[in-house]
Symmetry: D3
């Protein structure tokens, strides 16, 4: 099973990282890559909003990365995998898997702006006894030297909110609708990471840590459609957890995000 | 078990068609008629929005049509059933079951305007080896000679969108709020078909092919309440799929649609 | 397992009433107290909207009341329990459990305004053979002599709607946004009871009787944040029914309501 | 929906009592009558073991009794219902509903032997604040003056086991295979009550209080087939709880028990 | 995703037929081929009972056949597919899919003995308006001229049981343990078809029509291990329905059957 | 929530290790400790088979160990915890958590016989990149110097089966019924570890890696009841995975095992 419209060629490379070993509350994100592929088959390849078709884009689906249980080894495994990936379209797994992807890109390009859609700040220094927990991923990315645009964050410790508002590396947007304007001044390569819990749990119930009062898919896609031309060098969708959504609407939303982002930036 | 408020008399006839044999992705719509009846018991008969009560309307619940597995035979079975039905209130089943109901009414009245709420265009010519797939139902209805008002469509092939925008038989409304104005000029009898995936999956997760970025029940009902007096000769609610919604909110929404439409047009 | 941030001291007392014996449609609310505690662990103690932290509030979690099956005995059991409770934070259970809590407070203070968020009027005189059904709870509370502000009601009999609109004891607000203004003139102690089905089923699918066309958590919390200073003497969240929500987003919403209300009024 | 093979005539009367209000652990038995009817449609009317067919038996399906929430009122409601029932085939509901059925029959016939298949003794005097809890049903039946044959009991308090072994009214059989011999000497009318948790949870997972180490359906049916001719005046199957068995094998087993017992005694 | 141990070579060809359109009671068998592959990954390739390893067998996994909705077209589609299959290992889908596989083999070899493990006779002439329903599959196979050994049948109409016992083409074994002896005299090629509902529902709850009082996996495998050398020219496992078994034990059993049969006959 | 009958005193200490981070197939065992406690409330404290009562035994329930995500750190955390535990009754979690418990006891007593009920050999040297995977736990325990009695193993690699049969440290029993005789000659302290997948999946569907053809609870308990007096210094029940068993029969079986083992050895 491959993602809808995948072909056997192209430098755009989709892959899954079925990892959820640091998930503190309830695991299941490991089932997301295959779950999202399954639901993608039910989408059309054509986007009426963009008037573009996936069949005109060349991208490959490499399947899933073979993951170890140990969080430190996971980082190394994904970094090795990234050596052969030009433009990554990554499907998690929990959010910790974003770090080694971003690290590889930052080292490749020398600088990087990470656009981070999420309900949670993910700026803790350590959690559950590891620095590579999904609760720490943005802290690690900051330490690399990336710039961070955090959007939709509505949960965190007081310390995380203070860091988010005070760090010169971080731009904090409560609502996605301010993103198009902000992006106009970005010169660096851009990576987009979407934690599905950015959305209100009504739209994405299948996730490890649902947080009320989120955004709607319409608000998200309208923002994406308006983005100015920037150099996007990859993106990911993480924290979908199929066991908690028997309806599959979360997986379907994730599949549509993948389709629309591919078409927006490479269609 | 009969639908809430059903009596033993009346020419308004509610019935279910528990059919899902052409469903390409995931079956389950066959369980909708009984599922919606079950949830209807939990509604009040009184509608505060319309200040009308189901107990003042005479309608019968005929139970479910006995369905064959073969899609061609299904058409014939429902057409036969329709011979004794004056005003149909049909609960699907997948959307393919709308065709024989509409065919019977078109032949009876000589013309018909079909108002079609849906996420998908359903305008393919053939699918899964049959012309009577749920993906083809609106194409078949067009061929009968009906006029079509399609509302909320956000998924289809490029060809379907072109047909939808170019066919003289089709009026395409992105949003339901334009419907009341459009209906003022309609002189023909009107049939309303509501595919539950017209709604955003957050409100109707129990459906075969959920499509993100739909409408809310409030947007739908406000449109219905504002409709001008037209001659409605029947309606249906299709594609509810109970196995994918353990909360039952999809079935409950469908039951409320049935109650409100009965009260709006015959209450 | 205790609610997030509970300590061993304080006169603010959280407790559960795992009772659902009069539930007419589908039981399950008995699992709410423990379900909501479980999900509370996944919230942060800090509220960015209020810039306050649960760790600075002293409240105890007393666990659950031992409940009998008989509805008349249930009233007596909870009244006895309330003798040792100064400020109750009650987690139901079905809505019938609100009555003995309110009765105790009304007798203690001599008057009481009850703010009632719900989809249903709950103003029937008798149901399923008992006056203590969850369908009758607000009727019983009226009889005590309380003033009632009912918000969001969209389901009931014609008689209930007439009572709601005509009774001098009841203020009926269709939308929560009018509440802050209304509350400015309230001099009595205030009790808040939140039936989770006040919210649209998309946001709270895990409930016994979901009713379409409700409000969103954002609309609710924005109202709460704007409330003027009144003397709140307790509150409850009822009718969460975990068996119908495998995603847990309903339990999570209830947990967030508890956190935000504690912080708003005692933080 | 009626039970498989039910007709519009006959003094054999099948009915459901959708009651679970005293269930102490987890409710759901209220959904059994309709759940078992639904699965019965998937059985054949013909029993190859008995070489008899349901279509040759006249029995009616009266639907479900309307039940109150209060356990004392429930007893009265069912007793009233029983006035018009000659031979009851009752589908519970929790086990407490057996008491009023047995009481009616005992009063009608003056004596009665109750054959009780169960994992639990159900001999407590009071539970959850009521004498009519499902944990007390056999104690109440003893007090009427019935003789009791208890089979398969493997859970209870020490006191219950002592009563079971010492009471002159009770015959305790660990295994069902001794029943045919015992029954040869019974002269009174016989009522059979089958708590589905008599079976090992592997065969009947959908029940409120599953108890490991039970019997298999083959052991049960082989016993039934060998029973000598006795005057059976009714039977019931109780404690099936569909919400806990998404596979439906429990409901299917209950439906097969109903078919085989009807055919054995009246076929 | 391919079945455990599949390689890129070999004339042993495994494939799935994800078809359930004639299923009369509850669909879902279409999800079995991928479900069984998923669970196969959790088996070891080594069988301690046979002391053989799948890694030493060359077999390919061709994926799933693309299926039409119409039952008559399905037969044609599978027959065409079979033209390129030397030894089929087929995973259904509902039982109707066995017919075109057997038809192809019968025509190829000129004669064929079909060993049929099932709870149901499947000997009806027509069902749900088609002769190709899963309830008719063995009748169709008889008409081809195959010999049939039916094992474990415990449900059917009186007519089916009479046919089963009287037809010269059919050998009826109530229990599998008589099979090894019977097979010693078989000279024709042999095809084995296993409807998962042959097993007691406790062991295989995930199936469309569970029938109590079946056999255990141990009884089945002990029979298989004792089979004399016969020329097996293919086999299938059908009627697994993953939506009804959230534990996956049915899928796991099916996967183990596939492994053990491959190893027994080709290992 | 504590385990049924737990008191505030005693050197028998029950605790949970909610860990599943190395689980290779499907996680969920982290929910077992609380799930088993919940179901224990539905057991009686009295065992009719042993004629003993939990209320006469003093044991404490310490709640759950706080676990890190990293498998190496997990070992250290549990070893530290064990310093204050005299007789451990441990509820997993995945099987890897048994290692640090056994290590502590082996170091304390100098020798130890481990009785291992399981479907899988768990004798791999490394798995998923760690030596502390649940697939390696018995290999690690062998390396400590323990004697091992492995019972019920029916899945493993050829190498694991050879080690199991050839190692002088291992006694391999296919069936549990040979254990009482074997135990008569054991002089060392004894630890019992029960992987719930020892049982046939019909009896314990809620586990990560169900393996067909296992044993029944009756076979297990009859073995336990017959054990000769040995010095049992602790036991555990692991690999229960509640998310895969909505009926809860697996949790109930685990709870009964805990009760019966406590009563057998300390009652």
């Amino acid at each position: 099973m491959v993602f809808l419209g995948a072909s056997s060629q192209g430098k755009l490379l989709l892959f899954g990282i079925p990892y959820d070993s640091t998930t503190c509350f309830r695991p299941g994100a490991r089932f997301a890559p295959d779950g999202i592929r399954f639901f993608s088959e039910n989408l059309e390849t054509y986007s009426p909003s963009l008037d573009k078709d996936l069949e005109a884009v060349r991208f490959r689906d490499l399947g899933n990365v073979d993951v170890p249980a140990n969080p430190e080894k996971l980082i190394k495994t994904v970094e090795d995998f990234m050596k052969n990936v030009e433009i990554p379209i990554m499907i998690g797994g929990e959010h910790s898997v974003t770090y080694p992807v971003v690290k590889s890109l930052f080292e490749r390009y020398g600088n990087l702006t990470v656009i981070h859609f999420d309900a949670h700040a993910d700026l803790r220094d350590e959690y559950s006894g590891t620095k590579y927990s999904h609760a720490c991923v943005m802290k690690r990315i900051l330490e690399l030297g990336c710039n961070l645009i955090q959007i939709g964050i509505r949960s965190g410790t007081k310390e995380e909110f203070e860091l988010m508002k005070n760090s010169l590396q971080i731009t904090y947007l409560y609502s996605p609708k301010d993103l198009p304007e902000i992006l106009k001044s970005i010169k660096t390569p851009v990576y987009i990471t979407i934690d599905i819990d950015f959305f209100d749990p009504a739209y994405a119930p299948g996730t490890g840590t649902p947080e009320p009062c989120g955004f709607s898919p319409i608000e998200f896609f309208e923002t994406i459609y308006k983005l100015p031309p920037v150099k996007v060098v990859g993106f990911d969708v993480v924290e979908v957890s199929p066991p908690y959504d028997p309806s599959g609407i979360t997986q379907m939303l994730a599949a549509k995000i993948v389709r629309e982002l591919i078409l927006k930036f490479w269609g």
